[in-house]
Amino acid sequence: MRMLINVPETVVADGLRGLAAAHPGLNVDVENRVVVRGDAPVAGKVGLVSGGGSGHEPLHGGFVGAGMLSAACPGEVFTSPVPDQMARAAAAVDSGAGVLFVVKNYTGDVLNFDMAQELAEDEGVQVAKVLVNDDVAVQDSLYTAGRRGTGATLFVEKIAGAAAEEGAPLERVEAVARRVNEGSRSFGVALSAVTTPAKGTPTFDLPSGELELGIGIHGEPGRERRPMMTSREIADFAVNAVLEDLQPSSPVLALVNGMGATPLLELYGFNAEVHRVLAERGVPVARTLVGNYVTSLDMAGCSVTLCEADEEILRLWDAPVETPALRWGR
């Protein structure tokens, strides 16, 4: 194991201390594991709180700031945060206008956010919740824990964040968040397994010359394993898997996301293939984002997320945002 760490036990705390040092505009509580935008609570504004296991950086701490999240709760590596963190975050960002929890659909995240909602409501904070479940690789979702939340989380956080920044009330922020999730689908591919600091060895054995199709973001194996494919073939497979489930009635937002260890040169090349398939399928692309946004530690690979973007969603997407990892228009 060669990692830029001290000891596995302090990886999350060390990362948070570094985040704080790089972004003085954030209020980082290292001990309680809560990242809050420096000017919270903003009077009259709905608070947006998300969180999940660490190891997906910049998600979620990197998306805290004006126009996006009010606070983020990082858990241990690949482990959801605990209810105390989320309740604390909710209290820190609530201006009286209520708080929206953005929750990725994983059993641990769902259970802990449910408990946090109870705690926050006991303290008089009005809480709504939206569940992100965009991963089409999970097919028989009636018989499993349901579709995972992956890349669409970024779309939900950006667009609902913009609505909140405009002063929309809680029910409207919740409604737009739900609409973004319902119009979004993702598919991911792994070219290598992931090594968590605590375990120190790859979580699964992926021989060179093979890839995993249909992965999530926790280093879990995917839907099937195949001999290595070209970027062109992977784009065909991934985009078609998404479009099997989503027939966009408007232009789409496209996210070509790196899983952490794939260089931007490859991601841009893959993006070219994604645009080619979408053009062949007659799906216009309104905006494209390429980069490492919802990662899985040192995993190589990528995911594609498409989101139907009507005029309102497009306007909210283009609205100014100022966070460590996403910023434009200000």
């Binding site: 296991g53 858990g75 241990e76 590596v77 690949f78 482990t79 959801s80 945060p81 605990v82 209810p83 105390d84 994983y106 059993t107 641990g108 259970l111 802990n112 449910d114 408990m115 690789a137 999970v138 028989d140 018989y143 499993t144 824990a145 995972r148 968590t196 605590a198 375990k199 979580t203 699964f204 999530g216 926790h218 280093g219 879990e220 194996p221 839907r223």
Partner: protein, 198 residues
Amino acid sequence: MLDADFFLRWMNALADAVDREAGRLTELDAAIGDADHGTNLQRGFTAVRAALEKDAPDTPGAVLMLTGRQLISTVGGASGPLYGTLLRRAGKALGEEAEVSRAQLAEALRAGIAAVAQLGGAKAGDKTMLDALEPAAAALDESFAAAREAADEGAAATVPMLARKGRASYLGERSIGHQDPGATSSALLVGALEEAAR
């Protein structure tokens, strides 16, 4: 009859077992989950040990309630709320009695198990902790040893199962052939009961 000391011995024996088996639990989790089950439980039970030492509760119910609360506040993931709920609900069912019978403990565990099933939406056969806990709670009416055996058998029986809940469910058919980490840690919980009774 079982007093608060017995319950403290139980929780400490469980913390020891988790320390001992953390590596194996994480290995099992790496196969079908996300490789953190042992690490997470170890973090939780380290906090439990400290809390019980600092302020030892004086009833069986209070020992389980405090343990459950600590797990919820420190473990995260699915195992924090699930184990936390199991023990908190069982503790609540025991009420404020200073001593309880093994039958009362079995009854309380069944209440905790029902709460876990409701929270996670799982049932026996879904390849979860319930596959070890349900048979163990049934056998507890007979003896601690019978409960431990039933839990171990229940955990082993998850190997050929198809996971329906939790992270492993995403693997579908590929989850078959691996023992469920949650059922394995549940067997540790029941095994620690037998140790505390010695």
